[in-house]
């Protein structure tokens, strides 16, 4: 498939946005049961602003993918059958919830509404919004990934691993961003977020590595014999019906030499996994405030390469019909 930059940005920005919001909510839950040091409202307000900026940037990127962006509102219509439609509904809902979450913190409406358990977990309005938002964030991970995983014709995508990759790589980059944010503010949550970022990144490495291995051994279900219905082992295309390109030759081929794919694979495997983990580990020892920020930026860059390869690796069966120009 052709790796469209709009979709690469959309999925990586949304993933980081959802991840950083989940990091905020996780931090708040931990703080409310006094496992980590409580943060003042500005931490959550700032975090919500970062989340919204990422989600809006992702949304803007998605518009560049559409031929008719002015009609994008129509995309909410078929949520019963289309994962794309579900994503289109959940994304603005999450944005609104994050906005309210930040607003509640900003206005200081954080007096506990009631206390759950025996004086254990004080529940305030922001926590309620945060937990609903967290559910939406996970639902958004699933619907974004299912857009791809649901396309049964693209075997490289049609796997639960796609959902795992989108989720864990999003969580990894989001928590990495939360660590960077904490480092920039100079608070003590760098270790907390950094540890979770490393955990999610490692799980992401396992699932993405598994999908890379799986994709190496995929046996295509369709072949030229079934595509044109002629039973012969040797079929060569002599003409595809046109000499110039068409939508079919542009959308479904990446037109990149194998060396570029190999380079992308190597660079994302280095930039997404070992480098940020190493930088976070060094930051933990050296108490550096800049290393977590660098770690996030490098990991995000790596994720762009990862998503590029995700598209470039996908082999669409329609390509069987477009193998020769002349």
């Amino acid at each position: 498939m052709h790796p469209a930059f709009s979709v690469i940005l959309l999925t990586t920005l949304l993933g980081a946005g959802q991840g950083v919001f989940l990091a905020l909510v996780t931090g708040q839950v931990y703080a409310s049961i006094k496992l980590i040091e409580a943060q003042d409202a500005s931490f959550y307000v700032g975090g919500s602003v970062i989340t919204i900026i990422l989600l809006i940037s992702g949304l803007i990127a998605s518009f560049f993918h559409l031929g008719r962006p002015e009609r994008a509102w129509r995309a909410a219509a078929k949520w019963r059958t289309s994962w794309l439609s579900r994503e289109v509904i959940i994304l603005p809902a999450l944005m609104i919830l994050v906005a309210f979450y930040g607003l509640v913190h900003w206005l200081g409406w954080t007096n506990p509404l009631f206390i759950a358990g025996a004086d254990a977990l004080p529940i305030d309005a922001s926590l309620v919004l945060g937990v609903i938002g967290a559910v939406l964030a996970f639902a958004l991970f699933v619907s974004t990934a299912m857009i791809y995983a649901n396309v049964e014709f693209i075997a490289e995508w049609h796997s639960p691993l796609t959902v795992a990759n989108f989720t864990f790589l999003g969580l990894g980059s989001g928590f990495m961003l939360a660590a960077a944010y904490s480092a920039a503010l100079g608070n003590h949550l760098v270790t907390f977020y950094g540890t979770w970022a490393v955990i999610f990144t490692v799980i992401g490495l396992v699932s993405r590595g598994a999908s890379l291995l799986r994709n190496r051994h995929i046996k295509p279900k369709s072949n030229l014999q079934s595509a044109i219905g002629v039973r012969h082992r040797l079929i060569t295309q002599r003409a595809q019906g046109f000499t110039g390109g068409s939508f079919n030759t542009r959308e479904f081929f990446h037109h990149a030499p194998p060396a570029v794919l190999q380079r992308m694979r190597t660079s994302f495997l280095i930039l997404v996994f070992p480098v940020p983990i190493l930088l976070i580990a060094i930051a933990y020892v050296s108490q550096s405030a800049t290393l977590p920020i660098i770690a996030f930026l490098l990991q995000y860059t790596g994720l762009i390469a990862e998503r590029w390869l995700f598209f470039a690796d996908a082999q669409h069966p329609q390509n069987l019909y477009y193998q020769s120009v002349a």
């Binding site: 008719r68 995309a75 219509a77 994962w83 396309v151 044109i228 012969h232 079929i235 479904f252």
Partner: protein, 240 residues
């Protein structure tokens, strides 16, 4: 329920592209707007087509044959492109089973094209909406046309009648009989798409010559030659 479809006879298709050009002409001139071309007379021409004719060489020389392969939307009974459409622009008509795109609702997200294993959908470069074969829905449903003209442009244009059009759910229709009696098959049956369009396979036309044919056993003249030759020189041995 009616399911309109094409049955394409690969045995008689000569790859002349008449279906391609007539399709383009009809569908670029209609109420739905043009099928846009870019650089049509320049380097790197490209454009939107509903129908393409491809060529596949089967076997190795000298035992080869060239299969001309017309390729257009198969109007699947279970179209995978329809449920993925987020806007409902892509739909299958209830009354005749034709899969269509509502160009006024399409947002050009290309998701339906990913969900079609055959690559039958093309995004129009200028209108930026997804386009695909409509089976000339404006012809086949037009009661002002004489009945025998209510057929897709490609079917009417085909000089060898390689394209049949009709209701594949009606067991007595021309297309159903052709599929049943002439080995009609769907493309990529491994997917659960159930294409409505079918293809009729290549068939070898062979002569069967028996010993009697060689001896011309049924030739009445053979019995009239009553001359008995016993090794002497005949007229056949004379050099003229």
């Amino acid at each position: 329920m009616t399911q309109l479809a094409l049955v394409i006879d690969l045995n008689v298709c000569v790859g002349c592209h008449a279906c391609v050009t007539s399709c383009k002409q009809w569908n670029t001139s209609g109420w739905a707007g043009p099928l846009v071309d870019e650089n049509p007379y320049d380097a790197h021409p490209t454009g939107t087509f509903f129908n393409r004719v491809q060529m596949f060489e089967v076997g190795t020389f000298p035992n080869t044959e060239l299969v001309h392969f017309p390729k257009s939307c198969l109007h699947c009974e279970e179209p995978p492109c329809v449920p993925v459409c987020p806007t409902g622009a892509s739909y299958k008509r209830e009354d005749n089973g034709v899969v269509l795109v509502d160009y006024d609702k399409c947002i050009g997200c290309k998701y339906c094209s990913w969900a079609c294993p055959y690559g039958m959908r093309e995004l129009d470069m200028q209108q930026q909406v997804m386009k695909k074969c409509t089976l000339c829905i404006d012809r086949i449903t037009d009661p002002s046309l004489p009945e025998d003209r209510r057929k897709p442009a490609c079917v009417l244009a085909c000089p060898t009648s390689a394209r049949l059009f009709g209701d594949v759910h009606d067991p007595d229709s021309e297309v159903s009989i052709a599929i049943r009696e002439r080995g009609g098959y769907p493309l990529m049956p491994e997917w659960a798409t159930k294409p409505s369009n079918h293809y009729l396979p290549r068939r070898k036309t062979r002569m069967h010559i028996t010993e009697d044919d060689l001896r011309r056993a049924d030739n009445p003249l053979r019995h009239e030659d009553i001359t008995v030759y016993t090794g002497e020189e005949t007229l056949d041995d004379v050099t003229w």
